[in-house]
Symmetry: C3
Subunit: 426 residues, 3 copies
């Protein structure tokens, strides 16, 4: 296979403006203010910590962004091989006129200052959106987000529901829900009404998805409200639930969410497989891992019970990818969604992309989302994906099946953008 073929396909894919269907962007502070925002991304802090930098050096209270970057820089040499480091270099070269291959103790201050100049421009947010070819950016909003003060046609709200499913046993979460919906939550019917209110609020404000991340052992199933009503009352009286009761409450709330997805016609993004706080002394957002012993068979009841709901599914590991391929191939309501977190490095993306593209209907694979916290990361992450997609299209379709390049690019456009519009659009 010629490298120039792959390069031509990549250029065609690069030209396509994007919708990013899952991010953690704060619409009130979407772009970075300094290199500290960029290098403060958990990928860099957790990898630097993994390579030996103490957590209390990284997270010392009160240090300035520049001081933090200065502490991280010496450890960067240990991370130069990683895909994550390649994103960082690409950001610096594309946006900050950085011309070196490495960030070192010698060159970082110049880079920091240059970044300050660029990021300090009043229209930087618009510039970075344009340079990155981003037309829409989907958010991850807390259930009690007022969704005010930003353009929801550019920054599209999504209702994130981890707190509702897994943390309603905490009084502060119940209070947030009560306040957000202006309801007393005494009865289980109140809880149901409050959840419905959230969907009304979010869809009124242009929300395009309900979303949640799930631990490896979660198995959704229908739990009758009569079963959990007494648990809900216990919580109201300030009593604790045992593990089994809390698990049933989680299942009950999860099922409510799915039912509201039917009513409000929202896709339900499932991000499956993460155990929170496995490394208890890790840095912020650098504590989560997983148990690979999980299966999509745990979602059998859900997929069968909600044929009207579309479930874009992300799996944390490549060992779960074949299940995702097979379940998307069989279930009309299951969609393979992006390349998530621990599988978001080139070798995993390539194999997962290749297996999806050759087995799932082409309308059922959403190629990529950036999962970014700051806008600058869309460009290098999507570029990494587009390179890999170009490689797979070149090998599997142009070379092996004799497709024209035009046809391969059309398939690429569908995977990169067309399916986002069809699946999340309205």
């Amino acid at each position: 296979m010629s490298d120039s073929l792959q390069q031509r396909l990549f250029q065609e894919l690069e030209a396509l403006p994007l919708i990013d269907p899952h991010t953690h962007i704060n619409p009130h502070a979407a772009a970075s203010k300094s290199l500290g925002d960029i290098m403060g991304y958990h990928y860099y802090t957790e990898l630097a910590h993994s390579a030996g930098l103490a957590k209390n050096k990284i997270e010392e209270p009160g240090i300035s962004p520049k001081e933090k970057v200065g502490r991280l820089v010496p450890k960067l040499s240990a991370l130069e091989n990683t895909a994550q480091y390649a994103w960082l270099i690409e950001i610096c070269r594309e946006f900050f006129n950085f011309e070196d291959d490495r960030i070192t103790t010698e060159n970082w201050e110049n880079l920091y200052d240059q970044a300050d100049k660029v990021l300090g421009q009043s229209d930087w947010e618009q510039q970075v959106l344009k340079k990155s070819g981003l037309e829409q950016v989907y958010l991850t909003n807390d259930f009690d987000d007022p969704l005010e003060g930003f353009d929801t046609s550019l920054y599209v709200p999504c209702l994130r529901t981890d707190d509702l499913v897994f943390h309603l046993t905490k009084s502060d979460v119940r209070e947030r829900l009560s306040k957000a919906t202006n309801r007393d939550l005494g009865s289980i019917e109140d809880l149901q009404a409050a959840i419905r209110d959230l969907f009304t609020h979010f869809t009124k404000n242009g929300a395009r998805a309900c979303a949640i991340s799930l631990p490896p052992d979660f198995s959704p199933t229908l739990v009758p409200s009569g079963t959990v009503a007494p648990y809900w009352s216990q919580l109201g009286r300030g009593e604790k639930l045992n593990e089994a009761e809390a698990a049933q409450l989680s299942q009950f709330v999860f099922w409510q969410l799915a039912e509201n997805c039917v009513v409000f016609e929202l896709p339900f993004d499932l991000m499956i497989g993460v155990n929170r706080r496995v490394y208890e002394n890790g840095v912020f957002q650098g504590q989560d891992l997983y148990d690979k012993r999980t299966s999509l068979i745990q979602y059998r009841d859900l997929f069968n019970s909600f044929p009207q709901v579309t479930f874009p599914i992300s799996v944390l590991t490549s060992t779960s990818n074949q299940e995702l391929v097979s379940y998307s191939w069989i279930f009309p309501n299951v969609i393979a969604n992006g390349h998530w977190w621990y599988s978001n490095t080139p070798p995993y993306i390539e194999q997962d992309c290749r297996t999806r593209l050759t087995a799932i209907p082409q309308t059922k694979y959403v190629g990529y989302y950036s999962d970014m916290y700051k806008l600058e990361f869309a460009l290098p992450k999507f570029r990494m994906y587009r390179r890999i997609l170009a490689k797979v299209l070149a090998q599997e379709f142009v070379v092996d099946r004799g497709w024209s390049e035009k046809r391969a690019v059309e398939l690429g456009h569908l995977i990169l953008r067309g399916n986002v519009e069809t699946i999340f659009g309205r």
Copy 2:
């Protein structure tokens, strides 16, 4: 690695006539009668359904084959990327003089009519066998198949035993067994004798294998007849078994099969890992999926207890492939068999083939079987496999190890055909 090397190896592999060691061919209607038979293959109906075509459109009672094809065609555009679609196009181009790249609402009727002409020829069955280089086709026969009215040296019987192991709790299955063996099945000894009768009947008619597909949680072990005798009596009296009792009966019958494989010198094909009817409202044969949490360690007792029996093993997922590689490498009676179902797409085949060819004795890997329901599918499926095998031989053996092309082709022939003869032949 040069593409022409791979191409030369492929041509050598293409020239080899085949024995297809596992199919679902009906020897009384082996070839397709119309394009409806070809596009009615569950891969197309389930993928079209997955892409949004309603089950009741596909399976509406009484519609003609042409009507059915006409309903499927508009959905085909969503499947053009899949390996399964590539088989379909290859069939149409090889057999029906189809010259387009895609089947569309514009060209399908011409194609349908052209297929009718070809398939309507009185000697089409012989033609397709010849064009596909098929010398023998192994079948999948119900235990009560009379095995009459066809040439068993061309269409080789295999005793399929899923019903015996998993459905003897149903009275109609017991009645079929009673009728097939002309025995009253009152006692557990009667059941044992009936099973022996089936082996006698099948081996008299040239059977070459006993075969079964197994769910992910099955663990065969020896259960004494004394344990299940009372359960058998309960069934005879019309009583139900509980789950544990039914599971023990399954294990008992499975062990009986293995014991008969010793006596009758038959290999025992195990197809491991499928859960039936996971998607309850799926189309016919498009409802089965799996739980990847399964292990060949569950077969430890079996492999140790029956050193005289050869177990050609198919695994449903590529995540089970490394276990198959390792178990075939250690156990003399374990054979890696083909690339099955959800692993039967090019990226999975390539990785699984590569790992097997570099670690298992070359006499212990049966390269491929088509699993086809109609003869026309052998050509595109085996061709897909031969392309991949040529690629692996070129890269791993000619380039990396400096083998001559001749030697690589000899290895390819062994994997494609020689091992089928040694392992299943008599």
Copy 3:
């Protein structure tokens, strides 16, 4: 990607002298005495047995090394495709001037005699170390090894602890421990003191690691000495422990080892995932397999409890590799170590190496160890790894990221040797 690029990188990697951080070398008989030592390696006996050679042919008591080789040779033709066979040919060509591609019934006796001449040289051990570029070889020593009579700066002791953790329920193991430490082991405190004695003895003699292989279901956790003290007394009185009690004793001893690794500043090599004696009638060392349903989450308590201990981890299967990548990426004390046993063939190494090199800090991946029993195997095994490493460096770093070849080679040197020195050195 050009083959010559890969070739140039390989040559650079080949030039680097090595430290082999895990072997089973007997320092009193490190080199082979005859071809029988080489072909008696379990890879050849188990594969020949798997291909049909009876165990009693291979292990018949009293046969000479030459007779044994003569019996294995006819079966070698079935193994020519395997990576293991490629090691054998490479040994014969590099060391014994063998010029054929295959070992056959015609040429093996000449080869045997030629090997005798080479291996019979008085300085062969030094020769093979030199030809293989080996500067240090780490051992696997029984806990009661006197560690005398060899140069521990060349052959570096490592304390292997499987017997302590899993076999202290056997009186002969307790007696060996008592004798080695010259202690009565009446109380649990005696046991703790004896374990400490072993660490003193080993570190005095230059030991660089504590090591253990672990079954798939092992989950280390803190068990108080008070819990196991009565079990220890039971054992002392000649009573048996039940399974749960024995498991707690294993956990207790394991935790003691980790605590001593803190005190004595030793890395703790964990080789995770092997079930012993799965194939009960297999040849010597050819009986072990595994259950892939295992997870590094089982080690969560350990990694959190011992931040001061470095855990170089080997996983038995490539299906566990992504967990190893992710856990090394997050936990500062987790290191990805080599490519072990059933994952030590080129396709698994390549994918595992590629995923590690693009996601783990480059200081946290120890590329390879030979696991050899005789010195002659270091050359072909490391050469296999270096070829693959060169391929990954060429593709992922030089081609995809535009690195200079020099920079890629530096990364390769770090992975091959630098990290061994940093992680195991003192």
